[in-house]
Amino acid sequence: MNRRDFLKITGILAIGAVSHQTAMILSSSEVKADQNKKKRWAMAISFSACVKREGCRDCIDACHIIHNVPEFTDNKDKIRWIWSSPYESVFGEQANTFTKVMLKNLSVLCMCNHCENPPCVKVCPTKATWKNKDGIIMIDYHRCIGCRYCMAACPYGARSFNWKDPKPFIKEINRDFPARTKGVVEKCNFCEERISQGLLPACVEACPEKALTFGDLNDPGSDISRLLKTRFSIQRKPHLGTDPKVFYLF
């Protein structure tokens, strides 16, 4: 190869690379425009409404019954899609000495945050968990190999593993939703099966105080968008950059 040929080839390669990059940038802006039309499901939980009924677990029961979530007695086997934990342990890094005392009795409702940048999805070695086009983090119970890497990667402790066969621990099996086998990971799915039928998530519907608001963040007119624009809200561990879709309202 002489010098001329070499220059020609490198020139062609360089043009190729640049045009490829431009194409990438252009297509990514198209994707962004598309995303605006896409749904971005999110949940807002109002502390003040939630505390009104002490010891209420209507949302938890509603969710766990329709999703065939087993009731294990041993704490280490527990499976939870939605549960409540003390304010201090959920928001430990954001709490101060005064809020810790003030909110001592506050139970915070927790579930999968359906992160915009989900750490669990990228660690899965079989793509058994993925982000749907509407932002919901899904799990394929038939593909999961049970390595539990996603559990280690989730900063919110939102994923549970079937340490034992769950079926004997489900009071009444709901035939409309798959029951899981031992050896796979599961978690809240934002009631994807209900949303696709135009229904609200079971927990939202079950709440007697209307403490939970569910909707599309990409729709500026949705209830949740209006709520988040007007009321002060916090997220769990926002500093991790995961961009959680569950917001807590004061």
Partner: protein
């Protein structure tokens, strides 16, 4: 060649029977785990990885450390590592198999393990771990077997072995680096999230792996009269001493950073390991044992210039044990406690978990015994 492994003394057969019995006990326990689910282990929703993954991490380190004898022998033509290199390569083969077995028994759905190949996921470090471990296993089987074969026939090893050896050297580093990246890339686990993890893993591997090799050499000499190059062993001891020094330095650097920066989410894990919390102090003896152990081993190795064999064996044993505790037990389990909810759960392996673990050790023991027996009986027949 391998047929030599099937001719041995009564002691040899008793040893193999003992290992087989242990492996069988492990296998039966594993069948029970398959039937009942991983719930029969001590793992749970908070500490979701236990001694299986701890052992996996440790044995990847042992496998990677064979580079410590392979590199001087092939790259610097250090002939005194001749016999040690064969032993090192076969130790690496065994350790990779053991590491893979530990991953397999940890899976909730082992029947679906091929999904890792059917749906390759380059964004997952576990996928890369599978790639590098399989590659390393194949490389070491080929290199180990063909160079041993060449020695038996007293011919030069085939020319195509050399490039494979050169590939296997950075490959050895990669297997332990990828293993460290499994941990250090998780934003959810502040205790693992340190760029020093991969270098730390390598330093401790280069101390523990050659220590295993030293112990094995003494066993071969004591029971089979297989004499290793004296200078070779001496060199290995020097390597272990330096590796231990670097390991201790890395450990202190990590402790300083965690304590002085005073970030609660990072520091809490270290505090739990070294001093526990009220009502839950189960890891304290192990953490201290491992830390003090590696320092004692380092001092003993420094003193071992007096060539006292018992001292060297003792120091090697402490090194292996303290690094097994540090890298496996304390690091993996310490990363899960406290939980994201600042709870401090306990983790105690169950009898089934321990039997399965021992069973895998025994399986590794059988493979290693057969491979080493072949090497030894060939050398003695000469």
């Amino acid at each position: 060649m391998i047929e030599r492994a099937f001719r041995g003394t009564i002691g040899y057969w008793l040893w193999l029977c003992f290992l087989s019995a242990l492996a069988l006990a492990g296998f039966i326990s594993y069948l029970r785990q398959l039937d009942m689910g991983l719930g029969i282990t001590g793992m749970g929703r908070d500490v979701s990885w236990g001694i299986y993954i701890a052992n996996f991490t440790f044995f990847v380190g042992i496998a990677a450390s064979s580079v410590v004898v392979i590199l001087p022998y092939y790259l610097h033509d250090y002939k005194k590592f001749g016999n040690l290199t064969i032993l090192g390569e076969f130790l690496a083969v065994t350790s990779v198999i053991v590491a893979i077995l530990f991953i397999l028994v940890d899976l909730g759905m082992p029947s679906r393990v091929l999904n890792v190949l059917i749906y390759p996921s380059p964004s997952s470090l576990l996928f890369w771990d599978m790639v590098v471990l399989t590659g390393y296993l194949i490389l070491n089987i080929i290199i180990g077997w063909w160079s041993f074969d060449a020695r038996v026939k007293e011919i030069e090893p085939p020319v195509w072995i050399k490039p494979l050896v050169y590939i296997s050297i950075p490959w050895a580093i990669s297997i332990h680096t990828v293993t460290a990246f499994i941990y250090s890339g998780l934003s959810a686990k502040p205790f693992w999230q340190t760029a020093l993890l991969a270098p730390r893993f390598l330093a401790s591997a280069f101390a523990s792996g050659p220590s295993v090799l030293i112990i094995l050499c003494f066993i071969l000499r004591r029971w089979l009269g297989f004499n290793m190059e004296k200078d070779g062993i001496k060199k290995i001891i020097v390597i272990v001493t330096y590796a231990l020094a670097i390991h201790i330095f890395f450990m202190l650097a990590e402790i300083y950073t965690l304590l002085y920066s005073d970030l609660p989410s990072h520091r809490s894990h270290l505090e739990f390991l070294f001093s526990g919390v009220p009502g839950n102090r189960f890891l304290i003896p192990w953490t201290w044992g491992s830390t003090v152990g590696s320092i004692i081993a380092f001092i003993l190795f420094l003193m071992s210039c007096q060539k006292r064999d018992n001292l060297i064996i003792f120091a090697s044993l402490i090194t292996v044990f303290s690094i097994w505790l540090e890298k496996g037990f304390c690091l993996v389990i310490g990363g899960f406690i406290p939980t994201p909810f600042e709870e401090y759960p306990k983790y105690v392996p169950t009898i089934f978990e321990v039997l399965i673990t021992l069973g895998i050790y025994a399986t590794g023991g059988i493979i290693l015994t057969i491979l080493y027996k072949t090497v030894v009986s060939f050398r003695q027949s000469k």
